[in-house]
């Protein structure tokens, strides 16, 4: 045990202060969304707290044709559907890639590595054409279908399944377990941190996706929160309070899911090194 020195104390104080600087923008946004409109830019601690901006977002904005409550539900629906699907399908594909030895699996694994060389933005316009050709513009399908499966997720699962000894699987097979059972009840719980990483990043990616829904959704009722917030910010730039309240709503689910999965998040970061 080292002696606690003054320099050490100062160092810790600086780091904690820095941490506060880092969350200050969030705090400011959060507190501002409860301030009366006139005080947003003038005081840090307002004279009173008000829920008027949230009332506007939830009850008034619908009448203006800007259904924020609905957009929030849209975002939740799209992001959770995509996340659930990606975690499930990736686990199965990853299992096949890691644990079943045959030519196709090896080929697919190589293909996935090759596929990851192409950044997603290259496909935006051709994908847009596809969605148009399928007649899926302005629909939830346009937001959900392209994201139902993920090569990256399958790759992550394959990598971590490889570290699980085959004996486990053989033992389960001898007990007569089906392959679905093996993947869902044996493999997934063993790789909880991979599942959380895939889930967290997929959820954040889907929730935060802006450019794609901006291109394919023009119907206010189907817009995810990010796009509705951006349009509202453009049209009603003067309504700073409700815009802030919307930004808080847009941020909260991501922060929540992060705080829930933070342990796995930290474990998972070392995975991205491999």
């Amino acid at each position: 045990m080292k002696r606690f020195r003054i320099a050490d104390l100062i160092f810790h104080v600086i780091m904690v202060l820095l941490a506060f600087v880092w969350i200050y923008p969030y705090l400011w946004l959060f507190i501002s969304s409860f301030k009366p409109a006139k005080e947003i830019f003038t005081t840090f601690i307002p004279s009173r707290f008000t829920l008027e901006h949230y009332e506007f977002i939830f009850f008034m904005s619908g009448r203006l044709g800007r259904p924020f409550a609905r957009a929030l539900l849209n975002s939740i629906f799209v992001a959770s559907t995509v996340t659930f699907s990606v975690v499930m399908t990736s686990a199965f594909v990853g299992f096949v890639l890691a644990k079943i030895r045959f030519l196709l699996a090896r080929t697919v694994l190589n293909f996935i590595l090759y596929q990851m060389l192409f950044p997603g933005f290259m496909f935006l316009i051709p994908l847009f054409m596809l969605i148009r050709a399928l007649g899926l513009m302005n629909s939830y399908s346009a937001l959900i279908l392209p994201g139902l499966m993920s090569s990256w997720g399958a790759f992550m699962f394959a990598q971590s399944f490889k570290t699980i000894p085959d004996d486990y699987i053989d033992a389960a097979k001898l007990d007569g377990a089906s392959r679905f059972w093996i993947v869902l009840r044996l493999m997934l719980p063993l790789t909880r941190s991979t599942a959380s990483i895939v889930g967290l990043f997929t959820f954040i990616g889907a929730w935060d996706n802006f450019l794609w829904p901006l291109m394919v959704i023009k119907d206010y009722n189907k817009m995810p929160l990010a796009v509705l917030l951006a349009t509202f910010n453009h049209e009603y730039a003067g309504y700073v309070g409700p815009i802030f309240a919307g930004a808080v709503l847009q941020t909260i689910p991501m922060v929540l899911i992060f705080l829930l999965l933070r342990k796995y998040f930290l474990q998972g970061i070392s995975l991205s090194l491999r």
Binding site: L29, F210, R262
Partner: protein, 291 residues
């Protein structure tokens, strides 16, 4: 046992067939379209007409494209050193911390899960001329800083908020690399009488090479994909300086109704990003082994 093996294979085929079907529809088909669009002229209506390499040749005469490419270099010139240096410092500081470590880590990481639209709105207001940051600056120095309204400063400001967002994540990557170095290596060096400074330059930094390269590569690909921040905050201005490849692609496709040229812009941007990553790897990557 043979039947089990073949049943297993059948299961594998089934799962992979589903995966490949999805990939064929949402990756393969767009891929084919991408190649077709790149060599044709098309405006969303009618049939595309084949124009050969005309779209690619246009890149070289397009002063806007050159501007956008320079902007991207400008972004890289700020972002890579800023991200690399600050996340390295963060990781080292973290490894020296004994109290409040979780709190500090969480504070920096929570920035990383901010939504693009929301945090763009947040920073646009935070840095506005009457926002808290400028109020603070004004009370100290008697002037305000046009964060998003000056051509060079706007690029810097966007890099600043991107750094705010990613320092925690990248810092943790480097931190993980730091933890992977066995303490015996440092102890041995200290026994030999090496100074802290020397240990850092000759041992820590070379051994961190894989994590530093990872961060550099991440930061490079990130820069080529910037869209939301300039779209929301600066609209690509001032003087087009914050127009990124993605903004230019989006504008070309939907404001100038030229999806074929927009696709070529995307392809060339991707190729540039890919080559840059390859160059970084070739020049800086070192094999590291802990003996």
């Amino acid at each position: 046992m043979a039947s089990l093996k073949s049943r297993e294979k059948r299961f594998g085929f089934g799962i992979l067939a589903a995966y490949l079907t999805h990939t064929a529809i949402f990756w393969g088909y767009p891929f084919v379209w991408m190649v077709m669009l790149a060599f044709s002229r098309w405006r969303f209506v009618g049939k595309p007409s084949f124009v050969g390499l005309a779209n690619f040749l246009r890149i070289f005469q397009d002063s806007n494209f050159i501007r956008v490419a320079l902007n991207t270099l400008n972004f890289l010139a700020y972002l890579i050193p800023m991200l690399l240096l600050s996340s390295l410092l963060f990781a080292i500081a973290l490894s020296k911390m004994r109290y409040f470590k979780t709190f500090v880590v969480m504070s920096f990481l929570v920035a990383n899960v901010s939504s693009g639209v929301a945090y763009s709105i947040m920073f646009a207001n935070l840095f506005a001329v009457n926002g808290p940051v400028n109020r603070f600056v004004y009370s100290l120095f008697g002037f305000t800083i046009p964060w998003f309204n000056h051509p060079q400063l706007a690029i810097f400001s966007i890099c600043l908020i991107v750094t705010w967002k990613f320092i925690g994540y990248y810092g943790m990557i480097i931190y993980a690399g730091l933890q992977a170095i066995p303490t015996s290596v440092f102890e041995a060096a200290r026994m030999d009488g090496a100074s802290n400074w020397k240990i850092f330059w000759t041992i820590t930094l070379p051994l961190l090479n894989p994590s530093l390269i990872t961060v550099t590569v991440f930061a490079t690909t990130l820069t080529f994909g910037i869209f939301t921040e300039p779209y929301m905050i600066t609209g690509g201005g001032p003087m087009m300086r914050t127009t990124t490849f993605l903004i230019y692609m989006y504008d070309t496709a939907f404001r100038r109704i030229n999806p074929s040229y927009a696709t070529v812009v995307a392809i060339v941007a991707a190729a540039m990003s890919f080559s840059l990553v390859m160059i970084i790897r070739r020049i800086f990557e070192r094999e590291v082994a802990f003996v």
